[in-house]
Amino acid sequence: MTTAADVLPSRLGLTPGTRAALVVLLTGALCLALEPVLPWLVKWPDAWTLPATQWVDTVTRWILGWLKPLARAFADLMRYPMDWANLALNATPWPVTIGLITALGWYLGGLRMAALGFLGLSFVLASGYWSESMNTLALVAVSVPLALIVGGAIGLLANEFPRLKPPVQAVLDVMQTVPTFAYLTPLLVLFGFGPVVGLIASAIYAAPPMARNVILGLERVESEIKEAAVMSGAGRLQQLFQVEVPSAASQIMVGVNQCLMAALSMVIIAAVIGGFNDIGWEVLLTMRKAQFGQSLLAGLVIVVFAVVIDRMSGALAIERRRHDPRVVYGVLALAAVLTALFWSRLPDPAEFTLLAPVAEAVDTGLGEFTAANGDWLAGVKNGAMFYVLLPLRIGLDQAVLPFTWGFAWTPGMSWAVFAAGAALCLILIWRGRVTAGLMVLIGAGMLETGIADLPWPFVLVGAAALGRIAGGWRLSLLAVGLMLTILLSGLWDRAMLSLYLSGVSVVACAVVGGFFGLWSAVSPMAWRIVQPICDMLQTIPLFVFLIPVLMFFQIGEFSAFLAICAYAVVPMIRYTRHGLVSTPPELMEAAIASGATGWQIMRDVRAPYAAPTILLGLNQTILYAFAMLVIAALIGTTGLGQSIYLALGKADVGLGISAGAAMAILAFLADRMVQGFAEERRRALGL
């Protein structure tokens, strides 16, 4: 967005970035200087907070009470398809189910897909979780069509009435960023207990990707095609459903694929409520007993489903070719014959325990590893805590103690840090990099104070400045307004803790993920190893990894940090690699022709070209990190995630929604800012 301030050169001759940095720096310095006189500048007094969570509670409960009869009727209605799907999947003998999936695989993608379906379901059978898995599939089988209908309708609506697009986008953002745990309690009140709540929760989460892809697909339908439809005298509905939707089919199928994956990832969340003996419940039960092997096994069943569904629906979206239906009939007939032949002797799928010893061995292995490596693991943890995490959270002045660094922090050292920062700042300014210099000084101040203890005016001004640079005045105002609501609702301290934890994780992910992305871009061999790991990290319920992380590093921030990183690093790797390998060949040839070395091409051609894509990856990493905060609270963190759990336990609708909203606000602002920067880079590159 361009405003007058962007166009007019500043009177001082400073760029907007420099001015913003200067304002932030002055605010920070002022806060630090005035702290002894005006303590409320640093810590927002409790007396100034509004009982917002209680208001939210009252209002929401009132609305819920009003909606309840309608919702209950809907829940009763949904119970039918749910029961049917459940009955159908559980009553079908397992050889027939395996045959069906294998046949479907063949039809969609030939031998490879058929083999995938067959091996995948065989694994599920061998795990002994067959009936639990079928219950899970029943949930997905009902929630996905629901999400597709809702998402599709939202998409079509936004397409028909372009004025609705901005509010629809905002609603979709809210649906995707508010943690599901935050609205489980209201859903329970509304829809009553049972699998229907899980169903609704997963539909809420899975609908946005569908809606977004429908909007995108319809936008991209070429105007000639639309005009042709108009000229042939079609009505608006005919134009839409007979011309535009079919032309957008492949994009819409991408939406279907994403919708399926999102629904599957919610399985575990739905299990927290229960009401359904599904595979997610199994993961929760084993996690409660800290049985890593067994919960890994149950988690892998979900991964298998995710991979099979992803590949098959992906084939549905991309490949036009369908394979010989005769083989389909053959496979189905074989499955039916086998079932009929062995009908009386068909073993109960729950009796398959082929993989139980493996799970046992993994579990024992984990125990032995912990026992053998306890010392250096503790060393790693202490190092990271003492020298990185603690200083960042509470600042050098409090983190440096004789117990940790071996000496006590003195005010003189604080001055030394500032002096070093100022010196570096001056050098940078002298070399013409004013903004960078100011940023160094701001960074020194933040390191001294600690992120969790930053004065609130500094954070507000900082958010405003970042918003201003990334997206103009409107984003800036929005940022201040939204942050103020957190401040007034009394959730500020917790929000800052969450910001610190996810911030540290995002930085770590950016560095590590960027490295692996780069490595995977230059070496296809590396990518072959990294890709399946990424696939698994994205689809396995992360509850599973909490156990080994806890056993190695105990309850605390470092464990939470690792758990968040394990999940949030994936998009960074994927997008970095994708950006780097998709440099147009013309650019590469031109660079080679001008005699650039491999490293120079990477630095001067491929990296700048990939920058917008990498920024998009960073954006996703930020959203993932926030999403993981809630799960990390199971380890024992103290930020907003913990509030959400507290609220869930107490059935405190107000606190749950407020904490969820605070988390969504942080994620939303981070998202908009990074997207703003990405947009700017893209414009600079002329894309």
């Binding site: 409520i273 806890l550 309850i555 507290l646 059935a651």
Partner: protein, 316 residues
């Protein structure tokens, strides 16, 4: 232990209450299955008793903290193991509304306390006397708590009893809330495997008590005065300078239970289960890998005298 006689005592009580109508035998009674094995055992025993009385029973998995709305709505008929130490506000709210009713105590003799895996005694010799912790705090210190020792407390949503004790007794420990029961178990497991020090807030009956050889610290016995009068107990300036009060475990059900299934109501109210009965069944499931249904069926067959009278009193 008194619990050995409970079955008999109950039969007398139930007899006093008198026989009742069966009610809607064609509709299933739905019992909540929560997240821990002991509760599974408790619930399955009750379910088998109801079946023996001629009812249909359905087991419904339900999150412990989220189940009360469902019980208030009648989607779940009863839940049979509510720990007074770990219950959501929702429960009290629903009780007040009258949509959830109390079904009496289960009779499980539960205990909570500050605990440690047995090997810790070698590192901190004075244990299990609580005074020993004053001098050993250092060995329990970790990066998060230095220079104080670390106590792994209950998840924040269960309250902070461990932190209260440390403050009350003036012990140099910082309580770190675990995020979940899984986190508590992982701590116990890691400590046992690594032979590292650990102080934890824990409870019994729990399968981990025997699996990791967990022992309780001896704290001054709790009296009401301890929680109200600072001058009581070893620390003259603080309350909470004593052990946990004993935890009661109760049962609760849907308000309509009594009218719809009168005999089932009687059975569930009079149903009791002791630690001596429950703990071996938990072991048979968690340690030996048995199935709940089979383990419970075996116990039911072998201990008919303990449960049959309750059923008979309600239906005859």
């Amino acid at each position: 232990m008194k619990s050995a006689f409970i079955g008999v005592a109950l039969a007398a009580m139930a007899g006093a209450a008198g026989a009742a109508e069966l009610g809607a035998v064609d509709e299933p009674i739905k019992l909540a299955i929560n997240e821990w094995t002991g509760q599974h055992v408790t619930t399955h025993v009750a379910g088998e008793m109801l079946k023996a009385a001629g009812y249909k029973v359905e087991y419904v998995t339900a999150g412990m903290l989220n189940q009360f709305q469902a019980i208030a709505d009648g989607d779940i008929t009863a839940t049979l193991e509510i720990w007074s130490s770990n219950v959501s506000d929702e429960y009290y709210k629903k009780m007040e509304e009258g949509t959830v009713i109390d079904l009496g105590e289960l009779g499980l003799d539960a205990r909570e306390g500050i605990a440690y895996p047995a090997h810790v005694e070698e590192m901190c010799p004075g244990l299990p006397a609580w005074e020993a912790l004053k001098d050993c705090a250092q060995i329990f210190a970790t990066a998060e708590t230095i220079p104080m020792g670390r106590l792994v407390d209950y998840p924040a949503d269960w309250g902070t009893p461990g932190a209260d004790r440390m403050k009350g007794l003036g012990l140099p420990f910082k309580a770190i809330p675990a995020g979940s029961e899984g986190a508590l178990i992982a701590e116990l497991r890691a400590s046992t495997e690594r032979k590292s020090p650990l102080l934890i807030t824990f409870w019994q009956p729990h399968w981990a008590m025997s699996a990791y050889n967990v022992k309780f610290v001896d704290l001054p016995e709790a009296e009401d005065a301890c929680f109200t009068d600072p001058s009581w107990g070893p620390n003259p300036n603080e309350v909470n300078d004593c052990d946990f009060t004993s935890t009661t475990i109760t049962k609760a059900g849907w308000a309509g239970l009594k009218d719809k299934w009168p005999a089932a109501y009687e059975i569930l109210v009079n149903y009791k289960l002791s630690v001596e009965d429950q703990q071996p069944m938990m072991g048979a499931i968690d340690v030996d890998g048995g199935k709940v249904e089979e383990v419970v069926a075996k116990w039911m067959a072998e201990n008919e005298a303990k449960w049959r009278p309750v059923v008979d009193a309600a239906i005859k």
